[in-house]
């Protein structure tokens, strides 16, 4: 009984290249923090997100998954985001005390 492999294996070269990119982003995020750039927190967060995306799409191979799994990840993120926004509707506007 021969069963086909549903998707191809990611090449070692690609994975290594992603690792290089991740290491570079790590260096960048440390540099930003050390140099006291304005909006460093936001930049750190953006870089972390791009690192997470590289991880998701290449290491976790999300780019080869079906459309449902690609879409539904936004459902989870959306749930989390709405929880955060609604909590901050309290935290930002609470009377000083």
């Amino acid at each position: 009984m021969k069963l086909e492999v549903p998707e191809g294996a990611t090449g070692y070269g690609i994975l290594f290249f992603i690792w290089i990119a991740l290491a570079a982003l790590l260096a960048a995020t440390i540099a930003i923090a050390l140099m006291n750039v304005r909006m460093a927190v936001a930049l750190n967060f953006l870089i972390a997100t791009s690192m997470a995306l590289l991880n998701l799409f290449y290491f976790m191979d999300l780019r080869h998954e079906d459309r449902f799994l690609k879409t539904i990840i936004f459902l989870a993120l959306f749930a989390l985001t709405s929880i955060i926004i609604l909590t901050y509707s309290d935290v930002f506007y609470r009377m000083a005390g």
Binding site: F68, L75, A76, A79, S82, I83, L86, T87, S89, D90, V91, F92, Y93, R94, M95
Partner: protein
């Protein structure tokens, strides 16, 4: 169909209730079983047992109101309402419909032989038992049972010397069981649908389990981490919710209700699913607006995420948040209203049969509507300031959780009992039990709306003279309700042993579970899985 069944029976298609040949004893064979039907039945038995524990505690609380102080101390009363809440909510109603009826019927209804992960399903059952065991342990181990109320509000839950850590740990463990069940069901519905079972042919009960599964997966982890922080606060002194260490108790409330409001939908959605099965069957009519009901289920699950703050209007959170949460709360009433109208429209011009399950379903609509509409009143900001923390809230939660989910559970129990156990119960005692229950329920809880509007605080051990009449009616109602429950359970237990053999389809249902023998064989269908040709509710059905 019938000759095929007979030949299949001859081929050795034994019912799932019969022990498979082997060296395992009956108990081990059930506990180690990965059959979703057996797991569902075991859950059902556990739930109903814990239900009676909760009922007894509730009766004792009511009994105290006859003459406060004669029967128990105030501390005991605090412990009673706490344990009553923990048991009825976390052990009975939240797992409730999905673990019992969902486990049993979801695979059959979508035309599958089992859930996607049968061994994970068994693990959830064991985890449930472990969590329940830890909760029970917190009552009997040295020291006092928890006295925080079921909400475990900080910072009191961090400081009280009672056994809060154990109870919270138990609820934490139960959360895992809930997550695993939701994950299993959603995966099952995605990957295991039988031949011809497209998404828009799924029975509505399955759709509600699907929406519930998502809420279980995406809300329960928030409760888990919050409870973990309560335990860490007590054991390690991490003061995340302790103002003396910089923590914010309102953040505890946010995180707790971020889970616990959606948890209301974990309870009520599958209950609505049962009603959406029972009403078309007994009205002999397709459900009115199938797609609207499906959409309403998903909308309730979605919008249900954004309304938790309505539990916190008097907590000291910002005005901006109070207005936002109040507005959003009104939005969530819309899909619930859509469902009620769909059920009523299904009844219109139907040829209605009033068997026991139908009485339960109709009373669900009545009690749930009272619960839901009272929810709108307290969801509005101004009245809430008056009603918060009064008996009004107690009445509301019981109309939703007991009058809503509880009656739907009984509707499901009477609807599916013949299928699950292969026996018929007697119809007249079933109806009598329902009637007494219904009268008792309203006697018990409706006076609480009145007392609450007049200012009777909840969780108080004593009351002033002006509430005397209301309290007495309510106490009497609790006895009537208990009598009704005794008749209902007595009738069903009797049927379990002495009931007549149930036919394959006693109510003329059209979904797949009615196209297999009662009780179903271990592999769910005697032969090939029937092919679905259209929505299950089309007159005439499938098969």
């Amino acid at each position: 169909m019938t000759p095929a069944h007979e030949s299949a029976a001859a081929a050795g298609q034994a019912s799932y209730l019969e022990n498979p040949p082997g060296r395992r004893g009956v108990f081990a064979s059930w506990m180690l079983s990965t059959d979703h039907k057996r797991i569902g039945v075991m859950y059902l038995m556990a739930l109903l047992s814990f239900f009676w524990v909760g009922v007894s505690l509730g009766l004792a609380m009511r009994l105290n109101m006859l003459h406060p102080g004669a029967l128990m101390q105030a501390q005991t009363y605090d412990e009673l309402f706490t344990v009553h809440g923990i048991v009825q909510l976390f052990l009975v109603i939240i797992p409730g419909v999905p673990v019992a009826f969902g486990n049993f019927f979801l695979p059959i209804m979508i035309g599958a032989r089992d859930v996607a992960f049968p061994r994970l399903n068994r693990l959830s059952w064991w985890v449930y038992l472990t969590g329940a065991g830890i909760v029970v342990l917190s009552l009997f181990i040295s020291g006092h049972p928890p006295d925080t109320g079921w909400t475990f509000y900080a910072p009191y839950s961090i400081r009280t010397p009672t056994n809060v850590s154990l109870a919270v740990a138990g609820v934490f463990v139960l959360g895992f069981s809930s997550i695993l069940t939701g994950l299993n069901f959603v995966t099952t519905i995605h990957t295991m649908r039988g031949p011809g079972m497209t998404w828009l042919r799924l029975p509505l009960f399955v759709w509600t389990l699907y929406a519930t599964g998502w809420v279980q997966m995406l809300a329960t982890p928030v409760l888990a981490i919050t409870l973990l922080f309560i335990i860490m606060g007590r054991v390690l002194g991490i003061g995340f919710f302790d103002p003396s260490r910089g923590g914010d108790p309102i953040m505890y409330e946010h995180l707790f209700w971020t889970y616990s409001h959606p948890a209301v939908y974990i309870m009520i959605l599958p209950a609505m699913g049962i009603i959406s099965e029972v009403i078309p069957t007994f009205a002999r009519k397709a459900i009115f607006g199938y797609k609207a009901v499906v959409f309403a289920s998903l909308a309730i699950a979605g919008v249900g995420y954004w309304v938790w703050g309505h539990h916190m209007f008097t907590s000291g959170m910002s005005n901006t948040a109070r207005v936002a949460f109040s507005l959003l709360t009104f939005f969530v009433a819309i899909p619930s209203g859509v469902k009620v109208f769909n059920w009523v429209a299904t009844l219109y011009k139907g040829s209605i049969r009033l068997d026991a399950p139908m009485w339960w379903a109709v009373s669900f609509i009545f009690l749930f509507s009272i619960g839901g509409l009272s929810g709108l009143i307290q969801g509005a900001l101004a009245p809430n300031l008056d009603l918060h923390g009064t008996y009004w809230i107690v009445a509301h939660i019981h109309y939703i959780v007991f009058g809503g989910v509880g009656t739907a559970l009984f509707a499901g129990l009477h609807y599916w009992f013949p299928k699950m156990f292969g026996r018929m119960y007697r119809e007249r005692p079933a109806k009598l039990g329902w009637l007494i229950f219904f009268i008792g329920f309203n006697l018990l809880y409706f006076p609480m709306f009145v007392m609450g509007a007049e200012g009777m605080p909840r969780r108080w051990f004593d009351y002033s003279a002006q509430y005397h009449t209301g309290q007495m009616i309510s106490v009497a109602g609790s006895w009537v309700l208990a009598l009704g429950l005794l008749i209902i359970f007595g009738n069903l237990i009797l049927a379990l042993f002495r009931g007549e053999a149930a036919p394959e389809n006693p109510w003329g249902g059209t979904t797949l579970e009615w196209h297999t023998p009662s009780p179903p064989p271990a592999r769910n269908f005697p032969g090939e899985i029937p092919v679905i040709k259209h929505v299950s509710y089309k007159a005439g059905g499938n098969g």
